[in-house]
């Protein structure tokens, strides 16, 4: 056990995996000599060499496409896109090649690869360093979309993603990269990708959240003594229906919190799924507290993302209902 930040935990996971399996190749802008702009790949070049920790030209389309080819040929590519905001020139590769390869070839080709990228706010990066684009990926059939909320999960989910025989979009909440340390095993371990984490039990309502919003939800609930159950999804797609339904049936009131905008977002799918299956158990409308439906503004980011006040307003509305 070592006290680790999320960055250190991810670095430790990559190191464990690369030590074990020489088919793993890291690639991306600045992942080698610089160790990644957030330092997730720090020290790995020195240990594994330029053939396995590949500094690439500045071309997201190339980083993803190159990784796809490596994985088609039996390697396991772990490309990094420096900010999720810059991933869009690679979206054709992600949607048309990465996500569809197994299906359209009926498994002739499979694609074990993990595309890592930091997302969300927290660094006052304005419209192009703060986006929460998870819905672009969750709406693409064939992808597994994972996002951790703490250092322990970050490492365990990353190692499970690396072992998966299918492509993973691994979204790293950059606001949590250095947000605190926790005990993380130095050795190899996994966290189940298909299992949500009930991080707090409670009876009055169920709050479903993930990634960057989890610590905020937890601190809000604790500070205000709310008797709420909190579910951390861990994997957005395919999400853990069973854990969600058990929570809904237990409390009958649901709040969904995420940093991404509300319209057509992950919360919409969760809300629709719950309504379709458990409308009789619901004692109140399903509410959402999310990022606002505008691009994320540079100076006023703190008003854009969910905060304690907005979460408490929704909780109070549900409790009173």
């Amino acid at each position: 056990m070592t006290q680790m930040t999320m960055v250190k935990a991810l670095n430790s996971g990559l190191n464990n995996a690369m030590e074990k399996d020489d088919s793993i190749i890291l690639l991306g802008e600045d992942v080698g000599t610089d160790g990644g702009v957030f330092r997730v790949t720090d020290g790995l070049l020195a240990k594994y060499g330029r053939e396995r920790v590949v500094d690439t030209p500045l071309a997201e389309l190339g980083i993803v496409g190159f990784g796809i080819g490596m994985s088609m040929a039996g390697l396991k590519a772990i490309p990094e896109i420096q900010f999720q905001d810059f991933i869009y020139t690679a979206m054709d590769q992600i949607i048309n090649q990465m996500a569809k390869l197994r299906y359209r070839t009926n498994g002739d080709y499979t694609l074990p690869m993990v595309l890592r990228t930091p997302y969300g706010g927290g660094v006052h990066g304005g419209p192009y360093h703060s986006q929460s684009g998870e819905a672009y990926f969750t709406h693409t059939q064939g992808l597994t979309v994972v996002t951790p909320s703490n250092p322990y999960d970050a490492k365990g989910l990353l190692l499970s993603s690396i072992e998966l025989n299918d492509p993973v979009i691994f979204l790293e909440p950059k606001r949590l990269y250095y947000a605190g340390k926790m005990d993380v095993p130095d050795d190899y371990y996994k966290v189940d990708l298909r299992k949500a984490n009930v991080i707090r039990e409670g009876d009055d309502l169920t709050i479903i959240t993930y990634g960057p919003a989890v610590p905020l939800v937890k601190s809000t609930v604790e500070k205000n003594n709310v008797n709420a159950q909190i579910i951390d999804l861990r994997t957005l797609s395919p999400f853990d229906l069973e854990t969600i339904m058990a929570g809904v049936k237990k409390t009958g009131k649901v709040l969904i919190v995420h940093e991404a905008p509300k319209m057509f977002g992950v919360g919409a799918e969760l809300s629709a799924t719950i309504s379709e299956r458990a409308i009789d158990y619901l004692a109140a409308p399903i509410l959402r507290v999310t990022g606002l439906d505008i691009p994320i503004p540079f100076a006023l980011e703190d008003y854009y993302v969910p905060n304690e006040k907005r979460i408490m307003a929704a909780i109070e509305k549900l409790l009173k209902y």
Partner: protein
């Protein structure tokens, strides 16, 4: 023009038969499509010599990542005709169980990549496969084909750049048929007023130089020239990537969804002296490989063979609807299992 060749007489005859087979198959498939037997088809006419030359050149240790107009390459490579036609006709026995359009082959066991529709969408993948080959110190090279239209995409330039940067065993092979559907090639790569590739300064093969490797232009209507240049390129690519621009002319439409009479005057016509079938017939006759009698007997044989095959695969059973939900993920999610019950 005629040189001693390392191909036996029998090998040359097989190549010729495959050119004829591709031509006849193509004409009949276009007919089948017009009569409504096939929803979509990608015509091949004008590409036969490129395809057969490539099929001869590719070695067992090479990896081939084709695009959607490469039917004849697989024929010449010796891929079983059943495998090829099951895919084209989307039958129940297709290894992709009819999930992708005609000519979108995926044949991993033959070192062939999964053909993708978006133009140039496979070029960075092919380059990654070449990286894996180099990393694993495997013999052979990766060859990827694409049309001239693909050279305007970011994918082409990114893949060329990566191949140069990592000095990968890559052969980029442009099948330049001078049209991206309706838009002629040369106005797309140099100046809007250049009408022929002789006029242009932005020739495709010259683009390789900017990425640090060699580009060559070859006659794509002569299958022996294609074979020789490609084989040599596959050997030299183990030391440095290379770009080959093979010149031909798309004699038919782009696909069954367009009519070339709307956008061009077709200058290479079937049976004319630039038609690859005519070019190679004449060459093989001059080489004393082929006689007029052979030409008519091969034509009759291939006419019968292709008709029988098309008839057989047109009638072959289509995949059952129960197959359509499988193989999205290795571990099927709950909603996919549920949606199986929604199919009716």
């Amino acid at each position: 023009m005629i040189e001693e060749t390392d191909i036996s007489k029998e090998g040359l005859l097989t190549a010729y038969k495959n050119i004829v087979m591709e031509r006849l198959f193509d004409k009949k498939m276009l007919n089948a499509s017009r009569q409504g037997f096939l929803p979509f088809y990608i015509p091949l006419m004008g590409h036969e010599a490129i395809h057969i030359g490539l099929g001869m050149a590719i070695r067992d240790e090479d990896f081939f990542y084709p695009y959607y107009r490469d039917f004849g390459v697989l024929l010449q490579m010796g891929i079983p005709i059943d495998t090829i036609l099951s895919q084209v006709f989307a039958t129940a026995t297709d290894n992709e169980i009819g999930r992708d359009m005609p000519d979108h082959f995926s044949l991993k066991k033959y070192n062939i990549g999964a053909v993708i529709t978006p133009v140039a969408g496979h070029l960075t993948s092919a380059t990654g496969i070449a990286y894996a080959k180099k990393y694993r110190k495997q013999k052979g090279s990766v060859i990827t084909t694409f049309g001239d239209g693909a050279t305007s995409t970011p994918d082409f330039h990114v893949a060329m750049n990566f191949a140069g940067v990592y000095n990968l065993p890559m052969v980029f092979f442009v099948e330049n048929n001078q049209f991206a559907i309706s838009v002629p090639t040369y106005p797309s790569t140099d100046k809007a007023f250049s009408n022929t590739y002789e006029e242009t300064r932005g020739a495709i093969y010259k683009k390789a130089e900017a990425y640090g490797f060699t580009g060559i232009r070859i006659d794509g209507t002569n299958f022996l020239e294609v074979y020789r240049a490609t084989r040599q390129a596959l050997e030299s690519a183990e030391n440095q990537p290379i770009l080959i621009e093979a010149m031909t002319y798309r004699m038919g439409p782009h696909s069954t969804a367009d009519d070339p009479n709307k956008y061009r005057t077709t200058t290479v016509i079937e049976g004319g002296d630039k038609d690859p079938l005519v070019v190679n017939q004449k060459m093989l006759k001059d080489m004393k490989i082929l006689t007029d009698k052979d030409i008519s007997s091969i034509n009759a044989e291939m006419d019968e063979t292709t008709s029988q095959l098309i008839d057989k695969y047109e009638k072959a059973p289509k995949p059952d609807k129960s197959t359509m939900m499988g193989n999205l993920y290795e571990d099927e999610p709950w909603y996919i299992s549920e949606e199986r019950g929604d199919i009716q």
